[in-house]
Amino acid sequence: MKTVRFAMWASLSLLLTLLLAACTAAPVAPGSSAAQPAASSNEIVVWSRYDLDDPNDSNGAVLKEFITNLEATEGVKVKHEQVAWDQLSTKLALAVQSGGDVPDLVETGSQHVPALLDAGALSPLSEWLKDEAWAEDLTDGDKKACVLEGERYCVANNVRGGMTYYKAELFPDGFPTGPAEAQAACERLKADGLYLNTFFAGRSYGAIEINWWPLIKSNGGSIFDAEGKPAWASEQVAEVAKWAQGMFQNGCFPQVALTGDFADSQIVWTDGQSAAFGGGSWSPNFVEGLLDQVNSGQVAMQGGLPFNGTPHVFMVSEGWVVPTGAKNPQGAVAFLRSFMQPEFLAKWAEAQFGIPTTKAAYAMGKFEGSPFYENVDAILSEQGAYMEPSPYYVESLDILATTWQELMLNPDRDPLPALQQAADEVLGRYWQ
């Protein structure tokens, strides 16, 4: 009797579960007609990293003002959703792949565009934007990032990049110009109880992009090959890792750079314990007073450390993409049309501490004559480079960042075998 009753309840539960499962919408393959209905609503769905309701989010405030004006002037309704910056691209790819609701516009960085394109997540824009006057004024900062194989897949609105900020009085001869000079400067600064540099070096792809890849590239190495497969198991990359291990072991960089997050590594700079700080042109957003210190000459700016060749900095064009399956692509174009007008674009680029991607916006803003922006422009023009693309960009760099962090915390560990192991892991997981 007990067994019969248990079987009855188990069967009923299973039946209910199957009924619930049947109620789930069936996934639609991207590219099918069902995934791209004609625009039928006045609503534009936008994903970005900003919190429009946070008074401390200055970029969010600018975007909120733009959206309010757009709704009033164009008679549209904008539905904004905040998504964590490091999840924007992967969440977009998943939304498209699962055939669920996709937004009409997503903010993304240029480093994610090739992977999103490979995932079938991006709509081509050349045809939709061919009659837009503002598109004629776009600079190379947009075209290099967004036009791939002759087709446009994104619209970049500003260009930013990695920068090193250093206290001018502590480097009377300028910031070190090579690894040996960096070691010598470290010894000098250590005597005064200062770190040479502080930066984020945790187990996140951002650490590789901003801090390590420029050194690797300067040393003739690369992260990805032409197909996007790991190419970091090389002598050139191992040499950079060995040098970095020595610098951490020697106390030139703080431990918190490895164990903290972005904000934790900045504290070492704001507390006056580090002579330099590795961030980006976006850093004035997060480090109070940094812009004033640069403009007054108290803090100087430097690009990458020339490891054994030309210095490089990680460069990124931030912009908008229209996903495959967007319900209101015409609304997305209308959004872009207003966004890219010089008056607003200049304001947006200033809030981002980046260089706008149209000449008209550059002329309209506070970019000329400002020491900060002149430095940013010069550094990006001379040293800025886009990261090598990969269809498994985030996953691969996360695995590399984890391995790199382990190497830094275990300075006696030989880098090359560890790098090879990380490469094998990526190849085994994603390329077989």
Binding site: L20, A21, A29, Q97, R203, P254, V256, T259, I267, E425
Partner: protein
């Protein structure tokens, strides 16, 4: 008569629907997902390949080992401290209410808040406990040291969970009649003999329940790991649950992540089965 029989079942039907919706359906769907992978916008049935990849991966076995180490240390230390506190509070000392409040404050904090507190307490160069304790451990930076980072997470988990375990043990202790201790005292039992021969046997069933609950909590712990170490340094605190989170939520590799979840489910089932068997033999005894 038939309506009288059906009516109770109708009353519990809404609860059953909710259980199916939030527990059974996700579990069955996870099992389904674990047999698939998503590549270039398409779901591809791969059978047991995700499981083969996981079992062939050294990272999985490292995560399993870390989960076991974390689980054993967390459960053992929590039980020891909880027992000591429960025995002390059972003596109805002065200010028992105040002590109970102090012990319960960590329990009401969320995991993320607790994690951020502990991360700041052990931040290299800034953390209060980092500065106080590192001379005792060779001046290490706890969050940058593999065993140190795990120790910080274990400490945070114990700090947060102690109240729960202590309360259950205290409830068990308070069910023991005072006459049993009086009888023991008459027979000449000292403190340790009273504990070993009276307290421990009578509170053991309660202890087994707590051990099972804490073990299941340890296997599925994610929040404190993510907020204190995020699985680092390197992979030193990447336990199974963190690995599963990373695969499914960070990389959106749902098939692989679901396969990890299924393996964790199997581990939970085995442990629960061991507990049930142990409980049954306790009842028989």
């Amino acid at each position: 008569m038939r309506q009288k029989t059906i009516f109770p079942y109708l009353l519990i039907l809404p609860a059953l629907l909710i259980i199916c919706l939030v527990s059974l359906y996700p579990a069955l769907y996870s099992i389904f997902l674990s047999l698939n992978t998503f590549r270039r916008g398409e779901r591809v049935f791969v059978g047991m390949r995700n499981f083969e990849q996981i079992l062939a991966s050294t990272n999985f076995w490292d995560s399993l080992r870390l989960t076991a180490v974390y689980g054993v240390l967390f459960v053992l230390l929590t039980m020891i401290f909880a027992f000591i506190l429960a025995v002390m509070l059972n003596r109805r000392l002065n200010y028992t209410g105040l002590f109970m409040t102090m012990i319960f404050v960590p329990w009401i904090l969320s995991e993320v808040v607790t994690g951020v507190i502990f991360r700041w307490l052990f931040l290299p160069g800034y953390g209060l406990l980092q500065d106080l304790l590192s001379p005792l451990f060779g001046d290490i930076a706890f969050l940058g040291h593999p065993q140190g980072a795990m120790g910080v997470v274990i400490g945070a988990t114990i700090w947060r969970t102690l109240a729960f375990a202590m309360l259950l043990i205290l409830a068990g202790l308070q069910t023991i009649p005072g006459e049993v201790y009086e009888a023991g005292a008459i027979d000449g039992a000292n403190g340790w003999q009273s504990f070993w021969s009276i307290t421990w046997p009578l509170v053991r069933p309660t202890t087994l329940v707590i051990v099972l609950l804490l073990t299941l909590q340890a296997i599925n712990a994610t929040g404190l790991f993510l907020s204190i170490t995020n699985g680092g340094p390197g992979r030193a605190t990447e336990v199974l649950s963190v690995s599963m989170y990373r695969e499914a939520i960070v990389f959106f590799n749902f098939g692989y992540g679901a396969a990890l979840a299924v393996l964790m489910l199997l581990i939970n089932i085995v442990l629960a089965a061991i507990y049930i068997r142990t409980m049954r033999s306790e009842v028989v005894a």
